[in-house]
Each structure stands twice: as C-alpha cells, then as structure tokens.
C-alpha cells in the first residue's frame, strides 16, 4: 500500500514537473496574434505557358510592433485587433511585420505580394540585399514604379525567403523595400511605401523568411529584435 501511495506521489510530482516545463515553453512560444495568414485567391493567371493559381498576399512592416495596422487590414478584410501587439508579452517598441509572421501560399501558385512598408532604415550590411532576387522578372514595383533594387545606404527592411535545409533546392527570394517617405520620423500607418512583386511559389514545404536589414542592436545590428523570433522572422508555408 505504502509503495503504491509513494509511487503515485512520485508520478504526480513527475507529471507536474513535466507539465510546468511544457507550460513554460508554450508561454515562451511566439504566437502570432492572427495565426497563419493565407494568401487570397484572385483567380488564375497564364505564366510561361502554364495556367497557375493567382493569389495575393498582403502584409505590412511597422516601426513598432504595437502598430495601428487596423486600417490596412480592414481594407484586406482580415480580422484582427487594431493596435494589438504582434508579439504578446514581447517588446512592443520593436519593429515588426504584421498582421502575422506566418504566411501561407499554394504550391506552384503565382503569388503577388502587396507589402506596405512604414519604417525608416539606413545602410545594409551587404549590398546584395539591396537588389531584388528571385521575383518574376527580377523586379519589384514601388508605388507603381518598377525597379530592380534600392539604395543600399538608405533602405528599410527586406523580405528574404529560403527553403528549409536540403529541400526545394534553388528557391530563393529576397526583396528590399525603400524607407518610409517620412524617413526617420516613420510613424505607424503613415508615410507608407507600397512594394509589389510576384513570384512562383516553390514545392510544398516550410520556408523560412526573415529580414536581412540590420534593424536590431549589437554586432552587425542583428541583436535584440533580429535575434528574437517573430518580429523580423517567420515562416512561409507552401501548401
């Protein structure tokens, strides 16, 4: 009897301990406030002799993660809380992508990205990222003007996507954005630059994206916000 009681007590303690660890980690996990944002289908498109699904993905970049992205989202018809914090429990003054850091697009689709960029910027570590890589035509459109790159010494964030290790070899996408028209006075939801580009989604799988503009602190500007998951980094699910 005594044995059983002690056994049960040990079991309870063990379960509680493991439970606490799991609870702690679940709290630690980044939870995007709106979950995964799926690209909206707008029909089909003919590209290089193939009919592909045409989808539109919309997101924005804000100088702080408590951005008032309500206006834009309303226009996109997405449900979210205006003024909400992109990283619950995180640092609200850090810049962030919104409304989520998880995006999903269909495999092989023709994806058009509409990116509203409201943040300021500066010089990038590697001018390579001031150029457009991997889009259709190798170009992006900024406020209606088609370009192949931006000023490496005065640029804002990038949207850089690469596949998970060892998969879908060859897929690579990196698109820079110019700084907010308000420059260093960048404010949420003002001075926006609309960056548009299209790419053909790769094979099914998980792709990681992040920003390669050093907008954090520390060595190479990659500390703080850049080293923390969820603000300037996330996943592109190709489904």
């Amino acid at each position: 009897m005594k044995r059983i009681v002690w056994g049960l007590i040990s079991l309870v303690i063990a379960v509680v301990a493991v439970g606490l660890v799991i609870f702690g980690f679940s709290k630690q996990q980044y939870q995007a406030p709106t979950g995964t944002v799926a690209a909206k289908s707008v029909g089909t498109i003919q590209y290089q002799g193939m009919t592909r699904d045409h989808v539109v993905l919309t997101f924005g970049t804000y100088p702080d993660s408590q951005g008032k992205y309500g206006t834009m989202l309303a226009a996109e018809g997405a449900a979210s809380t205006p003024g909400g914090n992109v990283h619950p429990g995180g640092n609200p003054s850090w810049p962030a992508y919104a409304p989520s850091n998880q995006f999903s697009v269909p495999a092989g689709a023709y994806v058009t990205v509409v990116w509203h960029q409201y943040d300021s910027g500066g010089a990038v570590n590697d001018p390579y990222f001031a150029q457009v890589h991997g889009t259709i035509g190798g170009t992006e459109t900024v406020n209606g003007k088609t370009i192949t790159g931006v000023d490496a010494n005065n640029m804002a964030h990038t949207f850089t996507v690469r596949p998970a290790p060892g998969t879908a070899s060859g897929f690579f996408l990196s698109v820079p954005s110019p700084v907010s028209s308000l420059g260093n006075n960048a404010a949420n939801n003002a001075g926006g630059q609309t960056v548009t580009f299209s790419f053909i989604a790769g094979a099914k799988g998980l792709y990681a994206w992040n920003c390669e503009y050093p907008c954090g602190l520390g060595i190479g500007g990659f500390g703080a916000v850049m080293g923390s998951y969820g603000y300037m980094s996330g996943y592109l699910h190709v489904v």
Binding site: A123, N125, P214, G220, G221
Partner: protein
C-alpha cells in the same frame, strides 16, 4: 596517538584558542588555511594572466585599427556598417588618449602601503606586541586600502575615455573593475583584522590570521602594480 600532531616543530604555539572548527587544533587549522590562501592566490594568478593575455592579444591584433580608436577605416573589407562607431551610433574618428599614469600608480602605491602596513603589523604581532601596537597599524592599513579603493573608483571619473571607445579602453576599465573587486575583498579583511585586533584577538602570539591576510594582500598589491606597469608602459 591521534591524527593531530602533539608537538610541532614550528613556533606556532597558542596563537589560536577561540572556537573555530569543532575538531581542529590551531596547528592543523593554520596549515589548512595557509594552503587555502595559496590556492586562492594561484587561481587569481591564472585570472590575472588571462587579463594580461587579453591586453597583449587585442593590442597585437589591433582589429580594424581600433585598439585606441585610431586609424579607423570605414567599410573595412566586409563593409561592416558599424565600423568606427562607439557602439551606440557615434562615430569615432579620433585617437583616444592614454589614461594618466598618476592615478594608475597612486592606486598601486596605496595598495602597496596597505599591504606593507599589514606585514609590519604581522611582524609586530609575531614578536608578541600587544593590541596597542597592532591595532593602529591595522587601522592604517585599512585606511590605505580604502584610499586605494576610493582612488580607483575616482579614476573612473577622470578617464579620458569610456568603455565603448576601443579595445584599449575596454581592457583598461576591466582591469580597474578587477582592482575594485580585489581591493574591496582585502578592505573587508583588513577591517576585520583591525576590529579583532582592537579586541585583543591577535595578542599572545595569535598572529596567524594577520599572516594569511597579509599573504593575500601582498599578492593583490603586487598584481595591481603589475597591471599598472603593463597599462602604462605597454599601451
């Protein structure tokens, strides 16, 4: 026969009679604590050696010409955009001056004086001096060490640079911080000895705690002096 020596060839009789560990003779206690102090000094020597290594290594590498904030070339080969900034975005384009050796050596000399006074107190106590002799000596030693500590902290105010200005400044201030830590430690010890001496706890040949404290204080004074010479003559 027990594990404890009944007779010691050393002249250590009767210097320790109060409490202490519940199963130690004074001789055994002295022997152990002597070993303890030397091992602590040994560990501290490794630490000091590593500081010296860091100093000469960074000086020799002179990464991006930033040993003393000099010869800074923006966009060094890899185009690092943080080149020539002080870590908080301010550009450094000047050579920072070296720290004044006056302050550096003032700290060292005061530490030497403190350790020397402690040593003198030990000699007196060994010769059977009463508290009337040792207490003022230990009090003066504490004051000298306190002076050294205060001066070391004061030096932070008068440095011609801040931590962010190059590797030279970094190691220099790290050494100062290490000195503060060491001086604080021997200040506590010296103050304790002073209070204990004033209560007569070092009378009647019970000098061994002064002896042990002196060993460590001398090492600290030595290491401070060594580092002071290094930062002054090899900068």
């Amino acid at each position: 026969m027990s594990v404890v020596e009944e007779h010691s060839s050393h002249d250590h009789h009767g210097y320790y009679a109060e409490g202490g560990n519940h199963h130690d003779t004074p001789q055994a206690k002295h022997r152990k604590e002597h070993m303890l102090v030397w091992m602590l000094i040994g560990g501290d020597m490794v630490f000091t050696a590593l500081i010296i290594f860091a100093w000469f290594y960074l000086k020799a590498l002179n990464v991006e010409g930033m040993w003393r904030g000099a010869a800074c070339t923006p966009n060094f080969n890899a185009g690092i955009n943080q080149s020539c900034t002080d870590g908080i975005g301010n550009s450094i384009t000047h050579i920072i001056p070296t720290a004044s050796p006056v302050h550096t050596f003032a700290v060292a000399i005061l530490a030497i004086v403190g350790a020397g006074l402690m040593w003198f107190a030990e000699v007196q106590a060994r010769q059977g001096a009463s508290r009337k002799t040792t207490t003022p000596l230990l009090g003066l030693a504490s004051l000298a060490i306190l002076g050294s500590l205060v001066w070391q902290i004061y030096q932070f105010q008068v440095l011609p640079f801040t931590t962010v200005q190059g590797a030279y400044a970094s190691v220099f201030e790290y050494i100062m911080g290490s000195n503060v830590g060491h001086l604080l430690l021997i200040l506590l010890v010296a103050t304790g000895l002073f209070i204990r001496s004033s209560k007569g706890l070092h009378e009647n040949g019970r000098w061994y705690q002064i002896h042990l404290s002196r060993l460590f204080s001398v090492w600290v004074a030595f290491s401070i002096t060594l580092l002071a010479c290094m930062v002054t003559f090899f900068n």
